[in-house]
């Protein structure tokens, strides 16, 4: 079942000279984990915003084509209604804190209060989100007293509590230290295993390669490739699009060590180890 259908999506920001998105077409199946990679200004964040309706409802400008998420046409639906189907987590955890609540528990309730969820149901959904993101122990803390990683997990919990079918994450670990980033990745992996459709923009290629079912390579608003991590990161012209392959892939390319099964370069540690052993470089 297709959760996202994007057809010939074009978008130009107000006052901009060029299109940020140049006729993107793709679809995503339910439960897939999609990684989006590309250099700066390749259109990654704009695409995320288009999936949740910020483009074209919040950011005006020239918009064409169609985006359908969970059967809802984005251009003709309100952001508040779309948010119940697709959630977006931004890169800066600090600006995602509403600032109007005194505890983590109340902060997570914010979205649920806005859509009029019954109080008992609300508590149930908050508890589940807190446990899922492993932040239940912080529920009585002030949101601004959390570390970056904890705060980002709280932001994800605030979105997850609303039970969206799709979770879009725009560089959720870019402002976090390695430990904070790891906490967030583990949480997202958990959600993915629960069956949630995940779209994640990220510059940590090792993580993208490890978790993604498919990787979308964007460049100047166009889809260059949308395939398995192995195929995308094995591309000889990858660097030309401002993207580095995962370190394991780079080492294996240097050694000429390919996967035994598909003749592609390994993208994860396990694959790399197997390929290196196979080619006798141990």
């Amino acid at each position: 079942m297709k959760k996202i259908i994007v057809n010939d999506l074009k978008y130009k920001y107000p006052l901009a000279q060029t299109l940020a998105l140049k006729g993107l077409s793709f679809s995503v199946e339910a439960g897939e984990f999609i990684g989006i990679v590309g250099e700066n200004l390749s259109g990654k964040s704009t695409l995320c915003q288009a999936l949740v309706g910020l483009v074209p409802h919040f950011f005006k400008g020239a918009y064409g084509g169609s985006v359908v998420v969970s059967g809802i046409e984005v251009a003709t639906s309100e952001i508040a209604e779309l948010a119940l189907k697709v959630g977006l987590v931004f890169q800066n955890p600090f600006t995602q804190v509403t600032g109007s609540k005194l505890t983590v528990y109340e902060e997570i309730a914010f979205g649920l209060e806005n859509v009029g969820i019954d109080r008992e149901e609300m508590k149930d959904q908050i508890d589940q989100a807190l446990h899922l993101l492993d932040i239940y122990k912080f529920k009585d803390r002030n949101p601004f007293d959390l570390s970056g990683g904890q705060m980002q997990r709280m932001a994800i919990a605030g979105i997850i509590a609303m039970r969206p079918e799709i979770l879009v994450l725009d560089e959720p670990t870019s402002q976090l230290d390695p430990q904070g980033a790891e906490e967030v990745f583990k949480a997202i992996q958990k959600l993915s295993k629960e069956g949630m459709t995940v779209i994640m923009v990220e510059h940590k290629m090792e993580k993208i390669a490890q978790y993604s079912d498919r990787v979308m390579l964007l460049h100047q608003g166009e889809i260059i490739d949308f395939d398995t991590p192995g195929k995308v990161f094995s591309r000889a012209d990858l660097m030309g699009y401002g993207v580095n392959a995962p370190i394991f892939t780079q080492i294996c390319k240097g050694l000429g060590a390919q996967n035994q099964t598909n003749a592609l370069y390994p993208v994860t540690l396990d694959e790399a180890y197997a390929a290196v052993v196979k080619t006798g470089h141990e």
């Binding site: 915003q49 949740v52 910020l54 919040f58 309100e78 952001i79 508040a80 209604e81 948010a83 119940l84 959630g87 977006l88 931004f90 800066n92 600090f94 600006t95 995602q96 509403t98 600032g99 109007s100 609540k101 005194l102 528990y105 109340e106 309730a109 914010f110 979205g111 649920l112 209060e113 806005n114 859509v115 009029g116 969820i117 019954d118 109080r119 609300m122 508590k123 908050i126 002030n142 601004f144 007293d145 932001a155 605030g158 979105i159 609303m162």
Partner: protein
């Protein structure tokens, strides 16, 4: 966490009261002495507020506020005591300065009114969590957007102050002199205010988007995690306050 909130966490009956009851008390405490218009009523309400502050175990927090106000009130007493129009009955003299009974009496009324307001508002803000107060008002019809502005400002302003400190440190590390005479400080102001304003604008944009994706602009009827119960005591209290205000109004017309 730095916050502009003055709320003092205690478990007292006053803390547990519905915020609307406390707002009604603030209204009554200000309006009743004005309607009755004598010093005794103002003094009585001030004493009542004083006792309620003691009961709520927050009186110590009011002392600094009172200390600040006393300075201003003292100047009112001096000026009115000496120069109020209609002063003609000397009360006492300090050297060659004469203080008049009419002026002192009038300034005492002002002082009691200010004291009343100070105590009543202190009772409200020191014993009520800002989100509870705002949510009560929103549930009574206040615009959620206005409510959000009121409640978020208490935490976001300290956050902006932290951002400003970071920017000051960054500019200082680049060799900019931030301390010194007035001219140095004026020179330092502009390289400081630019990044502060830009950072704030970016934060506002990002926070607005974050609120959007959390259905802040939803047209659905809001619900609240923390429902402020209106207990029987609240109803009785609100009823008493209504009777007191109505009685004062009647007194005003009948007198």
């Amino acid at each position: 966490m730095k916050s502009l909130s003055l709320f003092v966490e205690k478990d007292t009956t006053i803390h547990r009261m519905n915020p609307i009851s406390k707002i009604i008390y603030v209204f009554a405490a200000i309006v009743i002495p004005m309607l009755i218009g004598n010093h005794a009523s103002a003094l009585l309400v001030a004493l009542l507020s004083f006792m309620l502050l003691l009961w709520a175990q927050v009186f110590r927090k009011v002392i600094p506020l009172m200390g600040f106000s006393i300075l201003i009130l003292f100047s009112i007493v001096v000026i009115q005591g000496m120069y109020k129009e209609g002063n003609h009955t000397p009360l006492f003299t300090l050297g060659s300065i004469v203080f008049y009974q009419e002026g002192i009496w009038f300034s005492a009324e002002i002082c009691l009114q200010v004291l009343n307001m100070l105590e009543a508002f202190s009772l409200l803000v020191l014993t009520t969590k800002p989100p509870d107060l705002i949510e009560s008002l929103v549930s009574k019809g206040l615009s959620p957007k206005f409510g959000y502005v009121l409640s978020s400002v208490l935490q976001i302003i300290p956050q902006m102050a932290t951002t400003m400190e970071t920017i000051i440190d960054a500019q200082r590390s680049r060799g900019m002199k931030m301390e010194g005479n007035l001219l140095t400080r004026i020179r330092a102001f502009f390289p400081l205010i630019g990044p502060v304003v830009m950072t704030s604008l970016i934060s506002v944009k990002e926070r607005t988007m974050a609120l959007e994706v959390r259905c802040f602009t939803s047209k659905r009827k809001k619900t609240f995690l923390n429902v402020q119960q209106v207990t029987l005591q609240d109803k009785i209290f609100q009823g008493i306050m209504a009777i007191c205000v109505a009685g004062s109004l009647l007194w005003r017309f009948v007198r």
